[in-house]
């Protein structure tokens, strides 16, 4: 994973165990049982405030390093597919959110 840019990590993220003391929100997006490799995961704060967005990885995976608190995860994919989930993040925890479109 790139550590000094603002962009997506090469090839999107692969979902795996992470990252010590950080507040991680990660998961996979599937549609009809298959990973959604083209699409976007957005992390939103209170009042739909945009926080971050990543393209989904080949395995439909995404990962955010959030601040502790309550967030909204929104997924966008071609064909107007979308989904939204409420998530909680805290330091030292990896919050898993799997999304089926």
């Amino acid at each position: 994973m790139s550590s000094d840019g603002c962009g997506a990590p090469a090839g999107g993220v692969s979902v795996s165990a992470a990252t010590g003391s950080q507040a991680v929100v990660e998961g996979r997006v599937v549609h009809e049982g298959a990973p959604v490799a083209t699409g976007y995961a957005r992390l939103l704060g209170t009042g739909d405030e945009f926080v971050a967005e990543v393209p989904l990885g080949e395995d439909g995976g995404f990962r955010f390093f959030a601040a502790p608190g309550a967030w909204t995860l929104r997924v966008l994919a071609p064909g107007g597919l979308r989904a939204e989930r409420s998530v909680e993040a805290d330091y030292g925890q990896v919050t898993k959110v799997d999304v089926s479109l």
Binding site: M1, S2, C6, G11, G45, A52, E53, P55, F65, A77
Partner: protein, 280 residues
Amino acid sequence: MSRSDVLVDADWAEAHIGDPGVVIVEVDEDTSAYDKGHIPTAIKLDWKKDLQDPVRRDFVDKTGFEALLSERGISNDDTVLLYGGNNNWFAAYAYWYFRLYGHDKVLLLDGGRKKWELDSRELSSDVPERPRTNYTASEQDASLRALRDEVIAAIGKRNLVDVRSPDEFAGRLLAPAHLPQEQAQRGGHIPTARNVPWSKAANEDGTFRSDDELLTLYQSEAGLDFGKDTIAYCRIGERSAHTWFVLHELLDQPNVKNYDGSWTEYGSLVGVPIELGDGR
């Protein structure tokens, strides 16, 4: 300069695929996106490998830019259409960069790669061969780029626009939430900066909001004084290039600079003032 001179939609791009004189360029940090599929005929620029100096913290100099564009087959007369991922952050950065080196025939694709993908438009894996050119760049246009001393001198005097997320602005995060939290030595923001996250200028599909919405955002809501000069910054200068594009190119504000050193520089400087906490 106005919106129609600098921004085109996907239909325009589709209609100009293969046009001689139009070079479509995908700009990303993650160039594996290009490798998986790109707008037909597009070539790629790697934000880091191609545009940043490999040794010093700076972007490539004039000679380096000339060598890069010559090697990629871009000539001075070409219209360069830029697009990329991350809601066009890196494409906007490249746009700023092309303008900095005097290339005026440059356009940004509204919505970038994301809208193209969400619209299920054609992507190609063919990598075009473009014949070498002999590109000549101008000297850097210093009116578009702010360096650190100018930024410090601007505190309380000019508009400073911090385009990072509210959590980064307040000092709770040091980087966007999709990246590990590292980088600058200190969190916070430059005193007197207004926090207008870049994302407020964009719709969900990555396209820019309308001019009226943008004017309301920066003037009425954020309280920027358009009678003053403006400096935009973020963490490494690409999100602020997006805002620079909005203010300077779409809204036609004359004196807007991008501080590409941004928070990774400012937040590591010794002795400069820092403010913590949320914006007003």
